[in-house]
Amino acid sequence: MGLSPRPDLRQVVQSSDEPWMTTRLDFLVNWSRANSLWPMPFGTACCAIEFMATAASKYDLARFGMERMSFSPRQADVLICAGRVPFKLAPVLRRIWQQMPQPKWAISMGACASTGGMFDNYAVVQGIDTIIPVDVYVPGCPPRPEGLIYGIMLLQKKVMGERAKDTSLRKEMEPDPESQLYIPAPVIDELSEPFGNSVHQTRSGL
């Protein structure tokens, strides 16, 4: 059936100069991390259906070492937020993120998780990056499995580029008013203003 023959073990053991290689520790660690990302599925809406399709046999997330859905955040590496997050769920999402051990990453899947999407209303968080740090944003409504897989491959690329020496990657911080991550409240409000004026329609005139 075209299988290659097994190597002759006696020959390998008996050879005097065993093959060996050198590499950077960073490369080895990142390579193993990037190819065994266990996802924490945080599916709240239709994006979760596409996420399930991605995990199913046709698109086969197992190729990326992600076939093991980690339903406990304690064992998860990457949080995939698939779907809109209402304000009532915001403390839950942040709690789950805080429960995940380092190293950890987050993928925001779909328009609603990334920006609030079409739900620019009183109940929905306008982008989960207001709650947790996000590494990769996957656009789409919902994204096709190819889109999610592309996002996952981008995340793998990002993981491969990390340096163990750079401890700031693993540092968890609440936004400090002195830091660059801090955005003052009025600016956040301005950022969350919608494009155009379609949502300013008030049919009742109130």
Partner: protein, 235 residues
Amino acid sequence: MTAPAPFTPVLAGAGSPSAPAPVSPKNVPNRGGAANPSADALREKFGAAVHRVDVVWGETTIIVDQARFLEVVRWLRDDPAQRYDLLADVTAVEFRDAGRPLEVVWHIRSLPHRRFLRLKVLIEKGQPLSVPSVWEMYKGADWLERECFDMFGIKFEGHPDLRRILMWEQYREGFPLRKDFPLRGRFSRSEQLRQALAANPEARYSMEELSIAQAYEDLPDEMRRRLSTGEKTGE
């Protein structure tokens, strides 16, 4: 522990066994047509308390006087010729026309007689948003009325535990489905997020929330033994 009351299933159509088998209605007019027979019976029994009867798409809507609403519902449920034993929904409608009254809507269904009835109570603008609760008659009204209170701020007098159900209990922005409520809420986005994140997600969903504590005596022996040996939910 006393033996629980035997459960008697209600079969659809059992109240009028001689009636022909139901068929899907065809060519239903938008307005008018045959009203639910309960409408005439209500008119006969309660007279002026029945303000109006509309038939829209074959479904009968009855607008009832608020003062006698509870009496009407009780009669509809208990009268052997009516037997409306299922409360399907409780909701409300506010219209954008400033002068038009707010409508509180109940959908009730008679399984034995295969009838559907929509009851409405009108609350004029400026009147207190308060209607009687049907919880005494339909225990399923509990969460339906809580949702209606959460979204519209309508007080259901007599409800045992009227508090928010969809929005969290500390929600301070008002009642989202009212016409004077802005689409994006009253507070700024950052303030909304700050308040939401300050909530403790584990403070609820306890024994108390699930009302298991009250139902404890009614649970099966096996489940009571399991609960009493320490398996807890939440908190």
